[in-house]
């Protein structure tokens, strides 16, 4: 080092990937910081998976453990499937964040602390008796102590902003610092700051200054020796965007409207974690999309059913408790055989449970949670971007078969993000349907008539005659319908017949859905069966197992009712069949009863996705002959 004494000559190291966890108080803007880092990484061409985790309280008491909000991102130069088991780097904006997140960090990992927040009051608020920086509890980690608040205030000193306001930009300082460490492009963040805060120039200036200062600090401070690069991942050519599950779901609904040539109607009531779909969709009224924020969950479903009767492509979005409330309406839709798509963004239950945490425990609710024999298709998305396609698929089934359809996603998919190779719009399926416009039979006197329950011989769907169509006036309702005529009918034999017909219509859909997703490399003794958001964890586990010499097959379900037509064959011939689920074992019971195989559950209900390691451990345990308690290793049961 010569004449640039104040400048450290940093070398650049290349990493295959890195897992970073941003954590701070709910008011510290950690979700935004993670989100910006995600966008910059996506633009840098990395593959990435994110896991936002935030408290249910809007503002839990400041500085407490309950108020910690975290955002984990896994970036890589190759194809990855999970947000990563253990973070390499923890950015902790206050003592509470350090305390609540430290146990996740891998041993020897890097900690970046905002030392300005480490005063007695904040330490006490989260129950530290002693300053963890001094009592040896951080031994073995690489710790970088950075006075982020002070440096942010210094950086904005020349600007016309109050100190309190300037302090609020400290998350951009952290972002700048980490952006330097991992050599992220800066311009996308400047652009975003301008777009987001452009109306308030003082905030733009302050955030920009903090962001630059953080970056410069990394470059000049001696504490950060090396800079790291994560190369772009080899990806299929095309145009990519970064997408969360909820946005993908909303876009899928817009797309389904275009593909069916029907106006879209969403009846919804705010509920975490589904509300973002309502927000997103309400921005697309120029597609003719009507969004209706109803007075309650029941009216959300009811208004949608009314719109469906009127010929709209109708949706209602919610989470578990809302599905319970909508049950009666969903059953009416089953009885009157109209298209209605119910989207359940699952969260931890029962009751209010863990509103901001993920779980996949509504499968039985979706399949069976209604009075009477009320069968209907149930489908599930397996990744954030897949929500787009499954929203279209749910709509296709609803429209073609005139039936309510339940689409399951979950909090992890809803808020998690991934790069998405944009589909060629012209390859999306045509899901248009014809309304009935003419009589479809003749009565006993030879007069032409319209019979609203005379079914299409192939799909068994009944005709959809919408108000405004002359001559086809008819009445539908919740009372049992006579076959063909649709008149009210209490005859026992007719009720038996109609129950069979409704079931047969559902069963027939199996002919019209794709096979299950299979990831197999030939001879394996182990079969992992998954559905929904466990796809990434299972895929990562299977890749690792193969490297370790344990071949395993992964079968993943997107259609839960009816089941994929090839599933019965796919599950045969394995010594060990394990079904990892973020519930107490729901799909596994269906697999066992449908196919009479000795499938074993692997359950986790902790509000978090599986780590790959938990699945690998369960497989190793099974193959080594040790008895499995059917629970993930880290205490879930």
């Amino acid at each position: 080092m010569t004449d640039t004494a104040d400048r450290v000559e940093n070398s650049v190291q290349t990493l295959e990937g890195v897992i970073i966890r941003f954590a701070g108080d709910s008011g510290d803007g950690m979700q935004l910081t993670g989100d910006r880092f995600t966008s910059a990484s996506a633009i840098a061409g990395n593959d990435l998976v994110t896991l936002p985790e935030f408290p249910a309280e809007i503002r839990a008491p400041q500085g407490t453990l309950a108020g910690v909000s975290a955002f984990q991102i896994h970036i890589s130069d190759h194809n990855i499937h999970t947000p990563g088991d253990e973070p390499d780097v923890l950015v902790a904006m206050n003592p509470a964040a350090l305390k609540s997140e430290l146990n996740r960090l891998k041993s020897g990992g890097t900690i970046i602390l905002n030392t300005d927040a480490f005063d007695m009051r904040n330490l006490e608020k989260c129950g530290y008796q002693m300053d963890p920086r001094e009592d040896g509890s951080l031994d073995g980690y690489i710790v970088h102590e950075v006075p982020m608040t002070k440096l942010t205030v210094d950086a904005t000193a020349d600007l016309d902003v109050k100190k309190r306001d300037a302090e609020r930009s400290k998350n951009f300082f952290a972002l700048g610092l980490v952006s330097w460490m991992y050599d992220r492009p800066l311009q996308p963040t400047f652009d975003w700051i301008e777009e987001k805060f452009g109306k308030n120039p003082a905030v733009v200036a302050s955030n920009n200054a903090a962001f630059k200062a953080g970056h410069a600090f990394g470059e000049t401070a001696e504490m950060f020796g090396d800079q790291y690069q994560v190369a772009s991942a080899p990806q299929k050519p095309g145009t990519y965007t970064n997408i969360t599950g909820n946005v993908a779901t909303a876009w899928g609904m817009v797309a389904a409207g275009q593909l069916s040539k029907l106006p879209v109607f969403l009846g919804s009531y705010p509920i975490t974690p589904a509300s973002d779909i309502l927000h997103e969709l309400s921005n697309h009224k120029n597609f003719g999309v009507r969004t209706f924020q109803a007075e309650d969950e029941i009216a959300g479903a009811g208004s949608a059913l009314g719109a469906a009767f009127g010929g709209h492509l109708a949706y209602t979005t919610t989470s578990g408790p809302g599905v319970s409330l909508k049950g009666e309406t969903i059953s009416l839709a089953a009885m009157i055989e109209l298209p209605l798509v119910i989207i359940d963004i699952q969260r931890g239950g029962p009751s209010t449970g863990l509103p901001t945490k993920t779980e996949a425990s509504d499968l039985f609710l979706a399949l069976y949670g209604r009075h009477g024999e009320s069968p209907m298709p149930v489908v599930a998305a397996y990744s954030p971007s897949n929500c787009f396609h499954m929203a279209i698929e749910a709509s296709r089934l609803a429209l073609k078969y005139r039936t309510p359809v339940i689409l399951l996603t979950d909090g992890y998919l809803a808020n998690g993000a991934e790069p998405w190779l944009l589909p060629d719009v012209s390859t999306l399926p045509d899901i248009s349907v014809d309304f009935a416009t003419t009589f479809n039979d003749t009565d006993a006197n030879g007069e032409p008539v319209f019979y609203p329950y005379k079914r299409d011989p192939e799909t068994m769907a009944r005709p959809w005659a919408i108000p405004g169509t002359p001559g086809l006036e008819h009445r539908v309702g919740g009372l049992e319908k006579a076959d063909i005529t649709g008149n009210v009918n209490y005859d026992p034999a007719n009720h038996g017949l109609m129950t069979e017909l409704r079931q047969a219509k559902l069963d027939g859909i199996a002919k019209d859905i794709p096979g299950a997703m299979v990831n197999s490399d030939g001879d394996a003794d182990v079969l992992l069966i998954g559905w929904g958001s466990t796809h990434g964890s299972i895929t990562a586990a299977v890749e690792q197992l193969r490297k370790e010499g344990t071949p395993a097959t992964h079968v993943h379900l997107t259609h839960l009712s009816p089941l994929h037509p090839d599933l019965g064959e796919l599950v045969q011939g394995y010594q060990h069949v394990i079904v990892p689920e973020l519930n107490k074992g729901q799909l596994v019971k269906i697999i066992r009863s449908e196919f009479l195989i000795d499938a074993k559950p692997l359950s986790k209900v902790m509000g978090l996705p599986f780590t790959a390691r938990e699945i690998i451990a369960a497989v190793n345990q099974a193959t080594s002959g040790a008895s499995s308690n059917g629970a993930a290793q880290n205490g879930a049961n």
């Binding site: 095309g238 876009w251 003719g288 010929g311 009416l332 405004g468």
Partner: protein, 340 residues
Amino acid sequence: MTDVALDPTKRGYWTSDQEVRWCPGCGDYGILAAMQFLYTELDDVKKENTVFVSGIGCAARFPYYMSTYGMHSIHGRAPAIATGLAVARPDLDVWVVGGDGDMLSIGGNHLIHALRRNVNIKILLFNNQIYGLTKGQYSPTSEVGKVTKSTPMGSIDAPFSPVSLAAGAGATFVARTHDLDRKHMIDVFRRAHEHKGAALVEIYQNCNVFNDGAFDAITKRDARAEMMIDLVHGEPIKFGAERQRGVMMDNGAARCVDIADVGEDALLVHDEHTTNPSVTFSLGQLAMDRRSPTPFGVFRAVDAPEYAAAVGDQLLAANDQKGPGNLEALLRSGATWDVV
């Protein structure tokens, strides 16, 4: 087809082929007839553009008997379902039919929200002050002390006045009629039909099986003069065989008075268009027992923006601002990058 089935000026045109299954003597028959006769008189309506949506209860069978489109839905939910239909299809005439249990008990929430939003739906509330279909329990409009199967020692619940409730919810059209006067019903239904926005019409309906004669003291022919208060827009509210009685506002509450005591000038001049809902509320409070003079007719008919029209305006505005939706462009609306 018979000629009747082709002639919209004949009641038969508006009558479905389904056998009507209310108890013989039920007030519902008269209401159905009034609606069918109204349709023979209206010239801006078509069978295919008319939809009746109902909940559950005796009254809720109504859609099956009209030859229009219809949906017999879920207990209490008809206003919500009709709201979705009316927002999706502002071209339709949407009617909602339900009883006092359906609308005010299990469906109370949907009723008040439909009214406050001013969705273009016309709600017929058949008030018989009893649960008929479930065979005789007290309802949210039953009087205190009512002895029913579920209240052997008398009901202790204070009843709702549907008119006052609607006023409190900000309803833009509120009216009351009764099942014994077809002409009055037709007139009130017509006014509801003409109103742009949500309309609530309370219909006193006799359930001759479980609550027979509930309104006899008011609506029987020989009682009407002294007990029915005719609301006429722009006129002082007077009633009685000699028009000797009237209604005045007294400390914010409506009160029946002898004109001789207070003088004509003290009477309330009925104004359907007043935006202040408290007058409607007070008039609604006049009928809280079975023996008091009771106002009938249109309480309130106020101009206000209709909900579905406002929804439509926003769609047009979005189209103007952003241009028609383009899926390709939507998918590229966030930050994108190309991999070659």
